[in-house]
């Protein structure tokens, strides 16, 4: 199995280390030819505006989009979630999003860095042990399509009493695409990366 890690900007190292711990070979993806022969792709954390721009200039934007349309399994964390979502608010007007998962996200929706936080999440798909999640200037999921499976949520922000008290999705899956608003690559818990690897295996590409 060979998994590409989009390496234009962001915490590429942590994702590659996580995959290596699971015995999965990875390849940094910076050019269109780096996409050939991949069984899956990781879109890491970083600044989504920067990555969006570099996708264009590196010539990766279209070929990556085609691979995603063809059903290449993808795992996006934070900025990666934004790039894989179907719509983005509070981003730049020219910001790219692939629509690989039917989510509407608000960039930095939890606030600036001072609001970045850690918490424990209940994720039944990964077992009874909670997942310790690190959110950094994280995107806020404001809407999810019917085809989206929500794997974990956080309670709605207390600062918005007028809004619905429905919990906010933070970990979602649609087909072979997995997205998290938090950074599993920043902790030692490898269950989420293993879950992604198992979706690649299921697909039997």
């Amino acid at each position: 199995m060979l998994v590409g890690v989009l390496a234009l900007q962001g915490d590429v190292t942590e994702h590659r280390a996580a995959l290596a711990e699971l015995g999965v070979e990875s390849r940094p993806v910076r050019r269109p030819e780096d996409l050939s022969g991949l069984d899956g792709v990781v879109l890491p954390g970083g600044e989504s505006t920067t990555v969006s721009l570099l996708l264009g200039s590196s010539g990766l934007a279209e070929p990556l989009g085609k691979e995603l349309e063809r059903g290449l399994p993808a795992f996006g964390t934070c900025a990666g979630m934004i790039l894989l979502a179907s719509s983005v608010s509070d981003g730049r007007p020219d910001q790219r999003c692939y629509g690989a998962v039917d989510l509407a996200v608000r960039r930095n929706g939890y606030g600036r860095q001072l609001a970045s936080f850690e918490c424990d999440l209940e994720v039944p798909a990964l077992g009874s042990e909670p997942v310790h999640a690190v959110f950094i200037r994280a995107p806020l999921v404001e809407g999810a399509g019917d085809g989206v499976e929500v794997l974990a949520t956080v309670p709605a922000a207390a600062s918005s009493p007028g809004q619905t008290s429905d919990p906010t999705p933070v970990l979602c899956r649609q087909g072979p695409v997995l997205v998290s608003a938090f950074h599993p690559e920043l902790t030692d818990d490898r269950r989420l990366h293993r879950y992604f690897v198992s979706t690649i295996e299921e697909r039997g590409r």
Binding site: E47, Q113, L114, F117, V123, E142
Partner: protein, 313 residues
């Protein structure tokens, strides 16, 4: 599209998937985490909201809001202080990327103001005139993360022991001359490699020589890296400068005067961003370096009257 879906099957006892604990903010993990997200990127000094937009358009991962770029501070002299909060607010309004701002070394009250302004990172910077000749800010006392400059491994570890969540080389700001940044990066990374070869007893000698805590020396020896990201600052003026320091082992770059003191800031900014990402692709660095117009003039560091890198203890 519905507002928010109801949770899927397998939900918790109350019928909902939930965040089980309270949210905890301002942890070391989230402070260092933002630095980790900036890796492979370019952080640009800006003095107006308009420049901040140019930086964001060019692909900057963050901007440093300040009143004068280091080249002007150097030329104009006088005491260099924290920026006007109105300027910082205007820059925060102008861009969606993280906004950093500088406080004077030891000036914890300026840092408190910057935290109150909700900047995303505070740079306790030698580019400003130091406020304390013996003490740096106790950065553990803050919720906002800090970046600090260092010229060698001992200085880097002292800043980390005070709570810095990111280290950058000092270089020699405002000169457009990369030589000092290269010296600092080589010193820090070379000593990290050397410490990694030391046995248990020798680590104590290293701690003494570096004037740094033994637990941090041990951590560096065992991991082969700093506990926080190491970025490069001070003197970067061209795409090749960025490619050089990235190949030496910097994880991201700060560009101060180099962009907005050049002839065509928008193009140069974009070129430095591309070169930082594709630092190991000389053909691409060559392509983006073509026809950028004049870089900032630059200064020979051996002729300087004031060395900013000497500030800090």
């Amino acid at each position: 599209m519905p507002a928010v879906p109801s949770p899927g099957s397998g939900s918790g006892a109350d019928g909902r998937l939930t965040c089980m604990d309270e949210r905890v903010t301002a942890t070391t993990r989230v402070k260092r985490g933002l630095a980790e997200m900036l890796r492979g990127g370019v952080i640009m000094d800006v003095v107006t909201a308009e420049q901040a937009r140019v930086a964001e358009d060019a692909g900057a991962v963050a901007v440093m809001a300040l009143e004068r770029v280091p080249a002007d501070i150097r030329a104009q002299g006088g005491v260099a202080r924290m920026s006007d909060p109105a300027l910082i607010e205007a820059i925060k309004e102008a861009v969606t990327i993280p906004v950093m701002a500088k406080a004077r070394i030891g000036h914890f009250a300026e840092a408190q103001v910057l935290q109150a302004l909700e900047v995303d990172y505070v740079d306790e910077s030698e580019v400003l005139t130091p406020a304390d000749e013996a003490h740096h800010i106790d950065k553990w006392a803050f919720q906002v993360p800090f970046v600090c400059g260092a010229t060698d491994l001992g200085e880097a570890l002292r800043r980390i022991s005070e709570g810095a969540a990111m280290i950058r080389s000092k270089g020699e700001a405002g000169t457009g001359n990369i030589v000092e940044a290269v010296r600092h990066l080589r010193s820090i990374l070379g000593d990290i490699r050397a410490v990694g070869q030391a046995d248990g007893a020798e680590r104590y000698a290293w701690a003494k020589r570096l004037a740094a805590p033994i637990d941090l020396v041990t951590e560096v020896a065992e991991s082969g890296r700093l506990p926080v990201p190491l970025f490069c600052a001070g003197g970067i003026a061209t795409p090749s400068d960025a490619a050089l320091v990235m190949q030496l082992g910097a994880e991201a770059v700060f560009v101060g005067s180099g962009i907005f003191k050049s002839e065509d800031p928008a193009r140069r900014a974009r070129a430095v961003v591309e070169a930082t990402t594709h630092f190991d692709d000389p053909a691409l660095v060559a392509k983006v370096s073509r026809g950028l117009g004049a870089p900032m003039a630059g200064l020979e560091t051996s002729a300087l009257e004031q060395r900013l890198a000497d500030r800090g203890w």
